[in-house]
Amino acid sequence: MRQIDECYQVLADPYGYAERLKKESRRKIVGTFCSYAPEEFIIAAGAHPFRIFGTGEKARLAESHLQSYCCSLVRGALEDALAGRLAFLDGVVFPHTCDTIQRLSDIWRLNVGGCFHLDVVLPVRLDTDNARQYLTDVLKRFRRELEAKLGAVIGDDDLRRAIGLTNRIRGALTRIAALAGDRPGILKGADLSALARSAMIMERSRAAMLLEEVLAQLEAQPGAQPGPARKRVILAGGVCNQPEVYALIEEGGGAVAADDLCTGSRSYEGLIDETGDPLAAIGRRYAERVVCPAKHRGLAERAENLVRMARAKQAQGVIFLLLKFCDPHAFDYPHLREALEKAGIPSMVVEVEDRLPADGQLRTRFEAFIEMI
């Protein structure tokens, strides 16, 4: 599909894309980390939110700031910044999530020049009125600070338009993901992942349009195509920037029926209410969306969510994809595995760094798991 090719092009060189966009649109580019960055404000201010993933170049410069036990996501982003590969950024926004991002923000502020720096110190717990009030307060502060940094005014109407746009993206991705899960064979797992990730990088109205076109085409496609029945699995974890994983699962006879990833469903599930006060509505969405392990909303929610997802999607197993040195996910894993076991759903775990191991080990493990379930 032409639209999907365009996404792959963007992902092949996200920094080049951002540089061109900046030049052509004269818009400011604001880098973000993590799916908790409230990008609606950046869009409303007329700037372009750009999710930083890091290109996976060997970390040399970052080594004088971060020890070896830091996750590759943070290390890679810092490396790119120090090497000047992110010089196109006008600013960068750090939502508070894990201990590592928290320190990355400090290190970045002290060592990377040339762009403004904003911390959005979100609450860690999301389960009380007080915390939600604080979340709203933080968003108000962010709005003020962003206005000052960008020299723009963020009006309620601007925010509503931005919400409308991100909702279109989220809505389209949610429906595409549902279709891909329900009608195996119509969309490769890697393609869905590419759509979701490129929507964090691409000019957002372009992304919305492409996604809606993709959706329309998929909706017109008939159901399951003939072929061997595939085993359905859920992919769960943090950031997945390794599209090869999908191909390996598919080649092993599986299909990703749904995901619980922050580069996947956690980033797009849950629309923002388009009526009423827009800022409050944004706060509600971030408080109520599927929770990430760096945030607290009860003791059982993530496990219940995963089990529910696996059942609803009739998945036969769950594959955990964990990034090495990522504490929040590593802490939740044993509990999630246990909850799945109790529900009779088998799971396996792979720990990856920014690149997958080159040998065929992962392929063999996937094959064995998929055969077993």
């Binding site: 590592t100 928290q102 400090d106 502060r141 802490f331 775990v349």
Partner: protein, 414 residues
């Protein structure tokens, strides 16, 4: 020979015995709480313990327990047990050890007493949140989270309001779990004792400004236990008064922690619990005394925000602005302040695999210290509890090389 032993004997801190007594009695009380009907709360080291004391709840510190696990060299075994349960070996070893202890009542004291509630304050890290979630599920007891937003560059008014309101929620939580009203008079007294305890602890640490320093960071690691666990009690105040008197006496007599103090050093990060003796002797043998550290002083750093006449009202600020909950540049500023205060010749930094919030940023602090003070720093790669991350020969070589640098500098400035 006999003389040498005598000098060594003289250098031993007498209060150690009393401390052991108090801690033993404390753990016996905690472990027999079921019989006495007292409630037990597990609480993080940076958490507000005073309301628990005011409610007659016994506070228990899994982190202190983690230190005991490390010191008794049971860390590797317990960490491996946690790994067998599915916890990654890259997670904090306090958390791993504690999580592995719970189901088997393992560790040096046969496990911690079962909690009636958990109190988690995330002002030290995000790890404690995940760790306490695990334990709240395991023990099936209520969990209170005091969420203290990180202060990268400031303590915002929004954060102040949020945390202050949580202090009220904390009290409501305690009233519910304990089934009795909170005693607002009692907390005043507890708050006063807490502030006094912190002041005394700071005074104890301050005696190390003297040459020779009467106590080292290795001593401080040991004597710290009370200000963490029993802050807000008369017993703690009495103990630190006694310890302070002993330190003052040592200063008067010129008794140093290290036989012949030549170099004064500052320690950064948690202790390496299973090797405190080895490290302490290693440094002492070269006349190097670790006169201060960023770790034990964290339990009196909040003093500047405390108002004893409005203890609950200043609790939010005291807990949000602690050493680990601030930006790397502010940490560097405080390190420099301490380096000057204790007049140190160098800094030893423990790059601690377990503790990401304490360790990430150390390289920058190292650079800032070098630029601003021009003193050498040594980075030791280790872990506080998991001995598998400790390479003795490598660390020994690095310490020796570092001492050579210090020697060279002293030689050239003399």
């Amino acid at each position: 020979m006999a003389e040498k032993d005598e000098a060594k004997e003289k250098r031993k801190i007498k209060a150690v015995a009393r401390m052991k007594e108090i801690m033993t009695a404390y753990y016996i009380e905690a472990k027999t709480a079921e019989q006495t009907g007292k409630k037990v709360a597990w609480i993080t080291s940076g958490g507000p313990v005073e309301p628990l004391i005011a409610m007659d709840v016994i506070p228990v510190y899994p982190e202190n327990h983690g230190a005991m696990v490390g010191a008794s060299k049971m860390g590797v075994d317990l960490c491996q047990k946690a790994e067998a349960m599915g916890y990654s070996s890259d997670l904090c070893s306090y958390a791993r050890a504690d999580i592995a202890c719970a189901p088997i009542s393992g560790g040096p004291i046969g496990g911690l007493p079962r909690p009636d509630m958990l109190v988690c304050c995330n002002n030290i890290c995000g790890t404690v949140l995940k760790w306490y979630e695990v334990q709240a599920r395991f023990f099936n007891v209520p969990l209170f989270i005091l969420d203290t937003p990180f202060c990268h560059t400031e303590f915002t008014p929004e954060s102040r309001r949020y945390v202050q309101e949580q202090v009220n929620e904390y009290i409501a939580f305690l009233e519910k779990v304990c089934g009795k009203k909170f005693d607002y008079d009692r907390i005043k007294e507890v708050g006063r004792l807490s502030a006094e305890g912190q002041r005394l602890w700071q005074a104890v640490l301050d005696t190390a400004m003297n040459r020779p320093a009467p106590l080292s960071a290795f001593d401080a690691f040991f004597h710290l236990a009370l200000i963490v666990t029993l802050r807000g009690t008369q017993q703690t105040v009495d103990y630190y008064k006694m310890l302070l008197a002993e330190m003052q006496e040592r200063v008067a007599q010129g008794i140093g922690a290290v036989a012949d103090e030549k170099y004064r050093l500052l320690w950064d990060n948690l202790p390496v619990w299973y090797r405190t003796k080895w490290l302490s002797e290693k440094f002492a043998s070269q006349g190097a005394c670790l006169v201060a550290d960023t770790y034990t002083s964290a339990w009196c750093g909040a003093l500047r925000y405390v108002d004893v006449n409005d203890f609950l009202g200043t609790m939010a600020e005291c807990h949000t602005r602690i050493y680990l909950n601030i930006g790397v540049d502010e940490m560097a500023r405080q390190v420099i302040e301490m380096a000057k205060k204790y007049d140190v010749d160098g800094i030893v930094m423990h790059s601690n695999r377990s503790c990401k919030p304490y360790s990430f940023g150390q390289y920058d602090i190292q650079r800032i210290v070098r630029e601003k003070l021009g003193i050498p720093t040594l980075m030791i790669e280790a872990d506080m509890v998991d001995e598998r991350s400790f390479s003795e020969s490598q660390i020994e070589t690095r310490i020796d090389a570092f001492i050579e640098v210090l020697k060279g500098r002293q030689g050239s400035s003399a």
